[in-house]
């Protein structure tokens, strides 16, 4: 076969790629999977919310109970996220910058809430503070209400979102090592100065990610909060719980209306995360590669 020089190059496929057919099939399969399991449910949320038209959608959001659910969600998140932020930074500092016995065990403990069912996360607080527990009667007699009230919601949310910031920061700070901090100290900086001017700027992207995810989970937590909340309408219902109540009452448009807000929150989280990654990927890689 005499080679046609001009086209010879194009007949031979590169050594490390699949046939066109295989490639297209794989892409099609992946896209179908994503469309079916991710895009369709998301589309359903918005469609169902607007099924009876925008007017119905807006009035559902303006409902008093819904409004207090939104407010409660924001309050709980506003308490839980900063607390876990401080914890995450402290834990990452201790674990990433020092060597001590039991470090691995500590890291595993921090990861616990991740591997525990949300229902169990709520259950443990019921067992701790419920009327049948040790502390329960004491709390009751002093008029302190934890379960079926906001403190319980906060506790359950803190438990569930506990690891998010730490998990993001620990590997990041471990990769960065201690050389920057040691340099600052050798130049005479105090501990806090070092932390503020050297460590924090290095970890700011990891911190932001962690906070984003922590917040998304804090606002969207359902199982744990459901167990401790008592479902008292207008008082101890966060947005996810409100969604459940409305749905079980067959008030679908209202349920999906509230769900839309949560879905929008999720989308904003994703967009922010991606935007951060895109704009600062070089910086992130550099700070990781320290």
């Amino acid at each position: 076969m005499s080679p046609d020089l001009a086209t010879a190059a194009h007949h031979v496929r590169a050594a490390t790629s699949e046939s066109r057919f295989a490639r297209l099939s794989l892409i099609a399969a992946a896209l179908a999977f994503v469309a079916l399991f991710l895009l369709l449910p998301l589309a359903a949320v918005f469609t169902e919310a607007l099924r009876k038209g925008p007017a119905e959608f807006l009035s559902a959001l303006g409902d008093a109970e819904t409004f207090s659910a939104i407010r409660l969600t924001l309050i709980v998140a506003a308490i839980a996220v900063p607390l876990n932020l401080v914890f995450g930074v402290a834990a990452a500092w201790a674990i990433a910058k020092f060597e001590f016995i039991g470090k691995a065990f500590l890291t595993t403990l921090i990861d616990l809430p991740f591997s525990v069912s949300p229902v169990i996360s709520g259950l443990v607080f019921v067992l701790l503070f419920g009327s049948h527990s040790l502390i329960g009667p004491w709390l009751q007699s002093h008029g302190i209400q934890i379960l079926f009230a906001v403190p319980g919601l906060v506790l359950a949310t803190v438990f569930v979102t506990f690891p998010f910031v730490a998990r993001e920061l620990i590997p990041l700070m471990q990769e960065q090592g201690t050389s920057d901090e040691e340099a600052a100290l050798s130049l005479g900086a105090s501990g806090w100065q070092t932390f503020w001017h050297v460590t924090l700027p290095n970890i700011k992207w990891g911190l932001l990610y962690g906070v984003l995810l922590c917040n998304a989970r804090a606002m969207g937590e359902f199982g744990a909060v459901s167990v401790v909340s008592g479902h008292i309408r207008g008082q101890t219902n966060t947005m996810p719980l409100q969604v459940e109540i409305l749905y079980n009452e067959y008030n679908f448009v209202a349920a999906f209306a509230v769900a839309t807000l949560l879905a929008l929150l999720a989308l904003v989280t994703l967009v922010l995360k991606t935007a951060l990654e895109l704009r600062y990927s070089a910086e992130i890689a550099a700070s990781r590669r320290h």
Binding site: M1, P3, A8, A9, H10
Partner: protein, 374 residues
């Protein structure tokens, strides 16, 4: 297996990595592709392998046109700079891989595969390590496994891409020697790419000097070193000095004086004179010489290296002399004349002036293969 590269052109986007390259490689020879980065040597190697396709041109393995074949069909052996061993397989499995993936009609029985792999592991002197994983081997050992793996398939041609580049200097030297032994034993046609000229000149039967996508010269190490055909080769191989000179009436002039060298067949005009630091003789007095002030003097192994200032507009020249023939005074004036030299008219390779190598009356200094860096 003979390999013929014919008028190969390779473009990446608009950038021509190789421009009209042709080369004949004899069966069983060990040939080096030598050049700086960007010269196209690795691209050429990968084209022979089939890991890239040429934009134009053909490659023949023996009488068959290999350009139409996929890399799997060409039956070559490739050794990468960073070993590319299969991390999750033992040494034995790595070496046996090429035989195990053969289609059923060409695959030897399992016992034969195992035996052949063990024989090769023995050949590369890694017996006893069959069950180890790559993570448990040193760099030199990994590269030997890579070579055994490549040889297991009885390749038409063995291709090595800077095989020792990732290794320590000492290991590199040992493996160089060892590679030559293996080649002599097995007789595979072998092409290897390197930017280290010492390696190329020491190992190869022939050397292909490349620059900017073209071949500057092909020859034995002696030919390349002693008779470079272009300024690039002269400058790239070994050490050299390049001086701007002028020709007048067949006499070579430097600045305002003749240097005592003649090129009778040459037309008048400017040219560049190339000579190696050790191809010079000292002259007392100056009835036609190159003269300069010593600006630095270093003792390197068995010779003395002098750096000379030849004048404001010229780069410093380096010459080498046996230690007893020099003075060590700074600012001493030294007069010398090249005994072996070459004139190039135009900086483009291929436009060389007919050879003006002149054997001088003074005895030529013993050949010294100077160390160059990089």
């Amino acid at each position: 297996m003979e390999v013929r590269v014919q008028n190969i052109r390779k473009e990446f986007g608009r950038f021509p990595a190789l421009d009209d390259v042709s080369l004949n490689i004899r069966s069983g020879e060990l040939i080096a592709l030598l050049g700086p980065s960007g010269s196209g040597k690795t691209t050429l190697l990968r084209l022979v392998a089939g890991l890239e396709s040429p934009t134009d041109g053909t490659i023949f393995f023996g009488d068959e046109d290999a350009s139409q074949k996929t890399v799997q069909e060409r039956n070559i052996g490739f050794v990468f700079q960073h070993y590319a061993l299969f991390r999750h397989m033992t040494v034995l499995d790595n070496v046996a891989f090429g035989l195990k993936v053969r289609p059923a009609n060409r695959r030897p029985p399992a016992a034969d595969i195992r035996k052949r792999a063990l024989d090769l592991i023995d050949l590369v002197q890694l017996s006893g390590l069959e069950k180890r994983y790559p993570a448990q081997l040193s760099g030199g050992q990994r590269q030997r496994v890579a070579l055994a793996r490549a040889m297991a398939v009885e390749p038409n041609v063995l291709l090595l891409d800077e095989p020792f580049g990732a290794l320590d200097a000492q290991v590199r030297k040992e493996l160089r020697r060892w590679l030559r032994e293996i080649h002599d034993r097995t007789g595979h046609t072998t092409i290897f790419v390197t930017h280290d000229q010492e390696e190329a000149l020491e190992l190869a039967d022939r050397v292909v000097v490349m620059s900017k996508g073209t071949i500057e010269q092909v020859g034995t190490p002696d030919e390349i070193y002693d008779h470079p055909v272009s300024p690039f080769v002269y400058g790239f191989i070994g050490q050299s000095n390049a001086l701007a000179v002028t020709l007048a009436n067949g006499e070579i002039w430097f600045e305002d004086r003749p240097i005592g060298l003649r090129a009778p067949t040459e037309p008048d005009g400017p040219a560049t004179l190339y000579f190696r630091p050790h191809d010079i003789e000292l002259i007392d007095g100056c009835g036609g010489c190159l003269a300069g002030l010593v600006t630095a003097s270093r003792r390197v192994a068995g010779t003395r290296h002098l750096e000379l200032d030849l004048g404001r507009n010229h780069p410093h020249a380096e010459i080498e002399l046996p230690p007893e023939r020099t003075t060590t005074q700074d600012r001493a004036r030294v007069a010398f004349r090249p005994t072996k030299w070459k004139l190039f008219r135009d900086e483009k390779a291929g436009n060389e002036v007919p050879s003006a190598d002149v054997e001088a009356e003074a005895p030529v200094q013993p050949f010294e293969l100077a160390r160059t860096g990089t």
